[in-house]
């Protein structure tokens, strides 16, 4: 149950999040869109904090805002986006977008309605016993699940990601011959005897 100042913060985060989410779509400038997306992540992490999931809140900030959105912003900033071009396609794709939106909306409505139409009755969720709070932080709880209970699945997921990463590198990698490269080993090995040549120059004469 959220009371007092926590409730104030809940509504603050929730309202800003929804407004920012709308602005992600509505903003004319793609960089502004990404910045609003970052604001959405921020508020989502605030909501996680209010829910007591402090580990998830920090990971959300670190992974999505600190790494993914930076790269996203990086790409969007480098692209020269033609706004007129973007606007022209709008009319053609609007019906499909609207259809997808309607389907998602309908699904959400069914999900929320099913709470009342469930066979166990409207109070089913309330009467179920709440599990006793464990004397561990949720960092430890998540760690136990990921690294003890489901360690093999976790490692499998890691391997799949590693494969994807190697695949991406293999696709992008091509060695060109005849390109001059910096060899750090050779640079460090240089010493005054081989790098510097001292010449006596008589005055009035060049080398």
């Amino acid at each position: 149950m959220i009371t007092g100042f926590a409730a104030v913060f809940f509504y603050l985060f929730a309202v800003i999040m929804i407004v920012a989410a709308i602005m992600v779509i509505a903003a004319r400038n793609p960089v502004h869109s990404v910045l609003f997306l970052i604001l959405v992540f921020f508020n989502a992490s605030g909501l996680f904090l209010l829910g007591g999931a402090e580990f998830l809140a920090m990971i959300l900030l670190m992974v999505y805002v600190g790494a993914v959105a930076v790269l996203f912003l990086f790409v969007v900033m480098m692209l020269d986006v033609d706004f007129a071009e973007l606007k022209r396609g709008m009319g053609r794709y609007a019906p499909i977008g609207g259809l997808v939106g309607l389907i998602v909306l309908a699904e959400l409505i069914f999900v929320f309605m099913s709470v009342h139409f469930s066979p166990a009755g409207p109070d089913a969720a309330v009467t179920q016993p709440v599990p006793a709070a464990l004397p561990r932080s949720n960092t430890q709880a998540l760690g136990d699940i990921l690294y003890t209970d489901y360690v093999f699945y976790f490692e499998l997921a890691g391997f799949i990601l590693l494969t994807a990463m190697i695949g991406a590198i293999v696709l992008a990698l091509h060695h060109r011959s005849g390109v001059k490269r910096q060899s750090v080993g050779e640079q460090v090995k240089r010493n005054p005897q081989t790098a510097i040549e001292v010449k006596k120059v008589e005055s009035g004469k060049g080398i």
Binding site: G4, F5, N29, V31, H32, L35, I38, E54, F55, M58, I59, L61, M62, V65, G66, A67, V70, L71, L73, F74, M77, M78, S137, T139, Q182, V184
Partner: protein, 348 residues
């Protein structure tokens, strides 16, 4: 009504009071660390440094502050105005907000949260936004180049910082910063037979290679020289800050120094025993913990300042090579080694 005041408003007022006190102390400390930075740099180069305003130039930072605050802010015509003005606030607010979880003495943190170290890591990974937003919104070439460099640089060095923190966390077993400091009361020194808690117990000795990596990564993460490629004068003039003037410039500058001092404080907490005295004997224990904390933080900042004065700037490809090809594999190996040692000896 009174009840509401007692349960809801009072705690908030206390937190606000604590934050204001921390902010005031921090900003005054920063003013003098900035002065110290310039003095040390000058001393290395056999100059005098700031010596006009106040005795020995002690009021120089405040004079600079007044100068920045009363000058006219100039916004370039082609700039994206909103983002341009938002960027310096993002930079300085984020840097300041990270201090909320730093325990300067036992129990002296505004918020002693369970995931303190993750919070600091998250905030320091966000600091890049101030630079990127400023660089993009300036609508100019050098700032954009600076912003792109900083994005790549900060993401690269976060990886090694994260792995270094993992090593420390393996030894401690908690993400709470207070726990991390308290764990250093009983470390390598005690296990090797020193009869009382001493500076040999702190993590710097047990995790020495990791300590060095963290120090260098901290320099890179906060864009301090020799890794200040974001604002390399010889190449980019001032990087993301080229188009900034007066108060917005000052906020960028402030954010940079607050972030640097935060990294000093973090080094102190993780490796130098936080507020613990160097030897666990009576008259050293009488000194309040915050004094030890400030002394150690200033010592680390002194090292930062010396590095700035001594070491020439890295080339960009060297910086990337160091981050990805040297620090990343090394710190990854250290995680494995530390975990193996803890498992075999049962010290965890």
């Amino acid at each position: 009504m009174y009840d509401f005041f007692l349960t809801s408003l009072l705690p908030v007022a206390i937190i606000a009071g604590k934050s204001l006190l921390l902010l005031a102390v921090l900003l005054i400390l920063i003013a003098y660390l900035l002065y110290a930075d310039r003095k040390i740099w000058a001393a290395v180069q056999l100059r005098r440094g700031p010596n006009i305003v106040g005795a020995f130039g002690l009021l120089q930072s405040f004079a600079d502050f007044i100068k920045f605050a009363v000058k006219e802010p100039i916004i370039p015509a082609g700039a994206n105005k909103g983002v341009f003005l938002l960027a310096p606030f993002v930079a300085s607010f984020l840097a300041l907000s990270a201090w909320a979880v730093v325990p300067v003495s036992e129990g002296w943190a505004v918020a002693d949260i369970n995931v303190g170290i993750l919070y600091i890591l998250a905030i320091s990974s966000l600091e890049v936004y101030g630079v990127i937003m400023g660089g993009w919104a300036s609508n100019s070439k050098y700032p954009l180049l600076g912003a792109l460099r900083s994005a790549a640089q900060m993401i690269s060095y976060e990886v090694s910082i994260g792995l270094v923190l993992t090593c420390v966390l393996l030894c401690v077993g908690s993400l709470n910063l207070t726990d991390i400091v308290l764990a250093q009361k009983n470390g390598l020194g005690t296990r090797l037979g020193v009869p009382f808690a001493s500076f040999l117990d702190w993590h710097w000795l047990a995790l020495f290679p990791v300590f060095i990596i963290f120090f260098i990564s901290a320099l890179a993460e906060t864009n301090r020289p020799p890794f200040d490629l974001v604002e390399a004068e010889s190449e980019l003039i001032a990087g993301h800050m080229v188009e900034y003037s007066s108060t917005p410039y000052m906020l960028f500058f402030l954010g940079e120094y607050v972030a640097a001092v935060l990294m000093c404080a973090l080094t102190t907490l993780l490796f130098l025993g936080g507020w613990l005295p160097p030897l666990d004997i009576a008259w050293l224990n009488w000194v309040p913990g915050i004094i030890w904390f400030i002394i150690k933080t200033c010592l680390v900042f002194f090292m930062f300042a010396l590095v700035k004065a001594f070491v020439p700037r890295y080339r960009y490809d060297q910086l990337m090579r160091l981050g990805w090809k040297v620090f990343l594999p090394f710190s990854l190996a250290m995680v494995v080694i530390v975990a193996a040692v803890l498992k075999i000896t049962g010290w965890a």
